[in-house]
């Protein structure tokens, strides 16, 4: 039995998941950082769930109640808008249940050693599925058998459970007897799958470390998958040249793949490798050593590919081609689009490096590019559809002039002061036939550093050669630029 603290944000994914899982993890990093002050080794079990050992911190803070209250205050202060809960109990399962109870109560929940057993007994069996990943079928069967609480399941007996449910039955019995299946210990016995990366030059940039570590990550994942297994809990430790040290346990219920590990490592390092002005505890040198220690592996969930490949085959070929293209040269970049939203035609879709995503996960891919997360929403002030087909990566300056040769401007009411007649793009002159807009945008006017005020205009133009075209031009800081062409 290990006394555990569980901190849960049950609604984290719903609240912060709109911009993708990585973004949600980056935001969650703030909470993880704040809680890391309490204990050197914490486990991020999933997005919104943190588990740590209670014994050390509890002594330091003078008792479980004070520790729980301290953590609850931290969570509440960093993210007051999202419900959170802190629970302490004698096993991981009980602590998680207590934390979920604390969410509804609105105050931390500490389960005393003497009542832990009674507490678990009273829990419904559905909690096993929700908190500990016991399969839905097993939980469903328990319920149909009339075993509605953990006490009823325990009464069945260990041998009967193992007899009927195999390894899962044994795990269920351990959970309801508060025998921890997963233990948090800093001194982990090295597993066969562990890998260490030594870097000769200290690296101070998180992205560089991830890039260097990529080969090691691949070899770890390959060795594990070579045994027909997948890793679901992984400890990553980093050390700087000055022997500063950070370790963290990460959990991934669906099994770690290379991009997922790379992304978690990036999260862990970005929180740590901040500059000294932002955080007095920031490391004073670059990273020279990264250790990957898989703590828990399980048999790979069976994946049945379609007969003769199906569309999966196309995806795998494309994924291989992307890898081959990346291997040609360091300067090659392969990206996939991701929907970001906004009024700027150039940044509605961003480009994410392919190394950070899993191409074969088509469902995640569809989610990544889904406009407005599937909800048809018009951004107020955005340029109406159809969108321009060719966008200038760096918009060239142009001149927009009226009949007298004077530059066209925009009044404080966002109206054109004179009608534009001619556009000059480089050496070319176009005659303006019609004008659409203007569409003004005032963004972040409350923030003096990031505020932005600009106006977009659609122009139907005719070149001296007779060709017609439509331009999207913008005015910012008294300068017109050619943002995009409807090519």
């Amino acid at each position: 039995m290990t006394r555990c603290v569980a901190v849960v944000f049950p609604k984290w994914r719903q609240h912060h998941g709109q911009l993708g899982e990585e973004h949600a993890y980056l935001l969650f990093e703030q909470v993880v950082r704040a809680i890391s002050d309490v204990s050197p080794l914490i486990e991020v079990e999933d997005l919104g769930t943190i588990v740590l050992a209670a014994r050390g911190p509890s002594r330091y803070f003078g008792g479980d109640e004070l520790l729980a209250q301290y953590l609850f205050d931290i969570c509440h202060n960093t993210h007051s808008e999202i419900p959170c809960g802190v629970g302490i109990a004698d096993s991981r399962f009980a602590a998680m249940a207590a934390a979920h109870l604390s969410v509804t109560r609105g105050r931390p929940c500490v389960i005393d050693k003497s009542v832990t057993e009674a507490f678990i007994d009273a829990l419904p069996v559905a909690a096993l599925g929700r908190l500990c990943g016991v399969s839905v079928n097993t939980v469903d069967l328990f319920e149909r058998l009339g075993l509605r609480t953990c006490a009823a399941v325990r009464a069945v007996g260990q041998s009967a459970l193992i007899d009927r449910f195999g390894i899962e039955g044994s795990r269920v019995y351990q959970l309801i007897c508060a025998d921890d299946v997963r233990i948090i210990t800093p001194g982990v016995t090295p597993s066969d799958f562990a890998a260490v990366l030594d870097i000769e030059t200290p690296l101070t940039n998180a992205a560089h470390v991830v890039a260097v570590a990529r080969k090691t990550i691949e070899s770890v994942v390959q060795t594990i998958s070579g045994h027909g297994q997948q890793c679901i809990r992984l400890m990553m430790s980093c050390e700087t040249d000055h022997a500063e040290h950070v370790s963290r346990i990460w959990g991934e219920p669906r099994g770690f793949s290379v991009p997922v590990i790379a992304q978690r490592l990036l999260c862990q390092l970005e929180g740590w490798l901040t500059d000294a002005s932002a955080d007095p505890d920031a490391p004073t040198s670059g990273v020279v050593r990264v250790e990957f220690t898989p703590l828990e592996c399980r048999e790979v969930l069976v994946v049945q590919p379609l007969l003769w490949g199906g569309q999966q085959e196309n995806t795998e070929r494309a994924s291989r081609a992307a890898t081959m293209a990346l291997a040609v040269d360091d300067t090659v970049e392969v990206c996939v689009p991701r929907w970001e939203g906004g009024r700027d035609v150039a940044t509605v879709y961003s480009r994410v490096p392919v190394s950070l995503v899993n191409l074969s996960d088509l469902h995640a891919g569809e989610k990544r590019v889904m406009v407005g997360d599937g909800v048809a929403r018009e951004w107020s002030g955005s340029v109406p559809r159809p969108s321009p087909a060719a966008i200038a990566p760096s918009p060239p300056p142009i001149r927009l002039i009226d009949v007298t040769g004077r530059d066209v401007g925009v009044t404080s009411r966002h109206e054109l002061d004179v009608a534009p007649v001619v556009v000059e793009v480089g050496r070319h002159r176009y005659h303006v036939e019609r004008v659409g807009g203007p569409w003004p945008v005032e963004e972040r006017w409350w923030d003096p550093r990031r505020k932005r005020r600009h106006v977009r205009l659609q122009l139907l133009v005719r070149h001296t050669s007779g060709a017609v075209g439509v331009f999207l031009v913008g005015l910012e800081h008294q300068q017109w630029t050619l943002l995009a062409r409807y090519e």
């Binding site: 007969l307 003769w308 494309a318 293209a325 996939v336 879709y349 109406p384 019609r434 659609q458």
Partner: protein, 217 residues
Amino acid sequence: MALVDILSDHATTGLETGAQLAKRLNARTSGEDGLIAVARALAPLFGSAGLERGHVYACAGDASMSLLYSLVAPATQNGLWFAMVDLARAGLMAAHEQGVALHRTLCVSSGNNASWARVVGALVDGVDLVAVAAPTCSLAHARQITARVKAQGSVLLIVGQPGAFSVDATFTTRTSEWQFDTYARSRSVSVVATGRRVHGQRSCVVQLPSAGGAVSV
């Protein structure tokens, strides 16, 4: 009808019925003789009503990007992948509006001229539709890439001047009219196909984009 719905649901979860398998194999064998279907409005441009695998096409004129999107859109929706090399100016929102499945789209930047041919070569090996912008590679590289395109049965689409490439068909676009009231809504584009694989002159007039977003007659 309900049964069909249930069966098609199964296809998404990894199961497949015999009828679906037959349909897919059929599509595959018809793909062997090398056709990638295009939108009906653009079919008059092709003798065989679709892009032929192993061919090199060029899109030119003032609606080349829109034409590129509308050519690849049905194929990407049917499961083929699409890569754009050095097309940083591609408007992805416009591509989405014209029906390109962006979750099967790769945006590649080749970095420098030296590696361009190798990057494109690697891509045509695995990606069915590869679009490049105005290539400047040597004749030898162009021939190598064309040979790989033929061998792998992919399609290379060139936006702008084809450079050293020997193109099977060139689609020249010319905007004839914009429907522009308070803002630009749609436009009429005349597309003319020329080249050594095109018999006579094939042309059509399409709405690109139309008021609905995609290409239409």
